[in-house]
């Protein structure tokens, strides 16, 4: 039950308006939780429609994946957009200062050890989770400061596929993409991205949980402030 509540918290914090920023990202914290521990595995060939989570709706929709695509193919395509492993890690180490603030803002409720961007890159470079690789490609593009067309590729491969988008990693990928669009001076694209994220959340009936968990968050905030 505690794990379910934690997973609910982890999901809802991504949507929680109690988080602080003017561009959609939240107050920095010092926490990061591996999604593999609390999130659902993103394997579209086996949708996670677990009915055991009686208090949490299925995070991954049972909508079948796009025909002609499987997660391996998507992962391979995303990985092909990245440079070699050594160059990738070197780039992330050099230009990844933004990652800490971003990860802290999307992980306000799960205070665990922080994973630097280079370590995240090393861990997810061979991942079979398309959404994780989407985050990696977006993070690389943001770190390298050019090749902004890669954001569109991540958008079309991950966020346009409901199976991938409606996951914890998918939503985190969406937030990263929207923030990146804002940073490169494309607020219109960012607006579409935020709107899509809100639509996914509303479609998954998360809004009801947001208001409930917001009260929980406020209670915790009040407790921490007193």
């Amino acid at each position: 039950m505690h794990a379910e509540v934690q997973r609910t918290d982890r999901l809802l914090q991504l949507l929680s308006p109690a988080n602080v920023a003017m561009d959609g990202t939240a107050r920095p914290q010092t926490s990061w939780t591996s999604t593999t521990g609390t999130g659902n595995s993103c394997s579209p060939s086996v949708p996670d429609c677990s009915m055991e989570d009686i208090n949490v709706p299925a995070i991954v929709s049972c909508v079948p994946q796009a025909p002609g695509r499987n997660s391996q193919s998507v992962c391979a395509t995303l990985r092909s957009l990245l440079p070699g492993y050594d160059e990738l890690v070197a780039t992330m180490s050099k230009n990844g200062a933004w990652w800490g603030s971003f990860r802290q803002k999307t992980n306000i409720l799960a205070p665990t050890s922080f994973e630097p961007l280079a370590a995240y890159a090393a861990r997810t470079y061979t991942s079979s989770n398309p959404a994780e690789l989407g985050i990696l490609v977006a993070a690389y593009t943001r770190s390298v400061g050019h090749s902004h067309h890669l954001y569109g590729v991540v958008d079309s491969l991950i966020l346009s596929n409901f199976t991938y988008a409606a996951t914890m990693d998918g939503m985190e990928c969406l937030i990263l993409l929207a923030k990146s669009y804002t940073d490169i001076g494309q607020p219109r694209r960012a607006w579409f991205m935020w709107r899509r994220g809100m639509a996914i959340a509303q479609l998954m009936a998360w809004v009801l949980f947001i208001t409930t968990v917001m009260k929980l968050l406020l209670t915790r905030c009040q407790g921490s402030l007193s």
Partner: protein, 348 residues
């Protein structure tokens, strides 16, 4: 996502996605009565931003009384934070964690003043009566405070800015223009303080340096627009700015009398971002504040009609889709937004 949507919706003049009423009365009461919480501070600002969006969406004449009411709510939000929370540092802190905290605090304040500017922006128009001066004063003061924070956020540390975001650059640009409209408006003018001139010059310098080093099209257009608005010219010129409105520069009668109606066009040579790499900031002739006036006309439509958009280069060549006019944005040529019946940036 809530905050991102709220920020982008206010900037672009679009409806927001989430109705704050759905939080419920209990949540609102808790947030409204909170003290000293940065979380709640920004959330309350977002609530006000939602009300600003509600007002701007409706094509009715905005109510000064409602704007003052919103401003009083912003004042209460400001008062909910400790006084030292608002202090601007004289120098940047040393540990990286303190730097992150400072950046976060400045961004929260940046958002606060952004919302406050938008509360009062509709009352900066040419036709605004003197009773609107209180709103104009508040708008100008919010612009100053936002620009001071922008100045700090763009401080370079080991070659990199403390915070870099082109959309925030655009917000700072619109705040600069709004401040200039307040200073050089055709209604009664207060004396222009040197602090305001220095602040505007500092912002323009930031835009110019980035244009020179990074060849940034957005900042190039921002810098040229401000430069163009400050020209001494006996012609009436019109500048249209995406998501902001139209600014009309007119020479004053005293300036026309001084020049005897002769054409004294001090238009500098048009510089592209490439040409600007080796030159300094183009010198502005002495511009006494009574030489020209700036008048502001808000956008009357939420978005420019599709028919006014022009096709341009495909910025996403790897995509099979053709150029998408719906995705024209401020990082591209602003003429793609605007009907080409006025003077373009930098002169014809």
């Amino acid at each position: 996502m809530y905050h991102g949507d709220r920020f982008a919706s206010m900037l672009l003049g679009l409806p927001y996605a989430f109705n704050d009423a759905h939080f419920g009365a209990t949540m609102h009461a808790t947030v409204e009565n909170s003290k000293g919480s940065p979380h709640h501070f920004t959330l309350r600002c977002a609530f006000i931003a939602g009300k600003v969006i509600d007002r701007n969406i409706v094509p009715d004449k905005p109510s000064l009384a409602k704007a003052i009411d919103l401003d009083e709510q912003m004042e209460a939000i400001a008062a909910s934070m400790p006084e030292d929370w608002w202090d601007l540092p004289r120098e940047l802190p040393n540990p990286a964690s303190d730097l992150d905290n400072l950046t976060e605090r400045l961004l929260q304040q940046y958002y606060f003043f952004h919302v406050r500017i938008y509360i009062h922006l509709p009352f900066m128009t040419k036709s605004a009566p003197t009773s609107y001066n209180i709103s104009k004063f508040q708008c100008m003061e919010s612009c100053r405070q936002l620009l001071k924070r922008y100045n700090i956020l763009r401080t370079k540390i080991q070659g990199a800015d403390l915070y870099e975001c082109k959309t925030s650059d655009f917000v700072a640009f619109t705040a600069t223009v709004a401040l200039m409209i307040g200073l050089y408006g055709s209604s009664s003018k207060p004396s222009i303080q040197s602090s305001d001139k220095n602040l505007i010059t500092a912002i323009v310098d930031i835009f110019f340096q980035d244009t020179r080093k990074k060849k940034c099209k957005l900042l190039s257009q921002c810098q040229k627009t401000i430069h163009f608005l400050r020209l001494l010219n006996n012609e009436t010129q019109e500048m249209r700015i995406p998501y902001f409105g139209t600014v009309v520069r007119r020479p004053t009668q005293s300036f026309l009398g001084t020049t005897g109606g002769e054409t004294h066009n001090h238009t500098p040579s048009v510089q592209t971002s490439q040409e600007a790499t080796t030159s300094s900031i183009p010198a502005i002739p002495h511009d006494p504040f009574d030489s020209y006036s700036l008048d502001y006309f808000p956008n009357t439509t939420i978005n420019p009609p599709l028919g006014s958009l022009h096709f341009g280069p495909n910025l996403f060549p790897n995509e099979q889709s053709q150029f998408d006019p719906m995705m024209v944005d401020i990082d591209q040529d602003w003429s793609l937004f605007l009907e080409l019946d006025g003077v373009q940036i930098g002169g014809s």
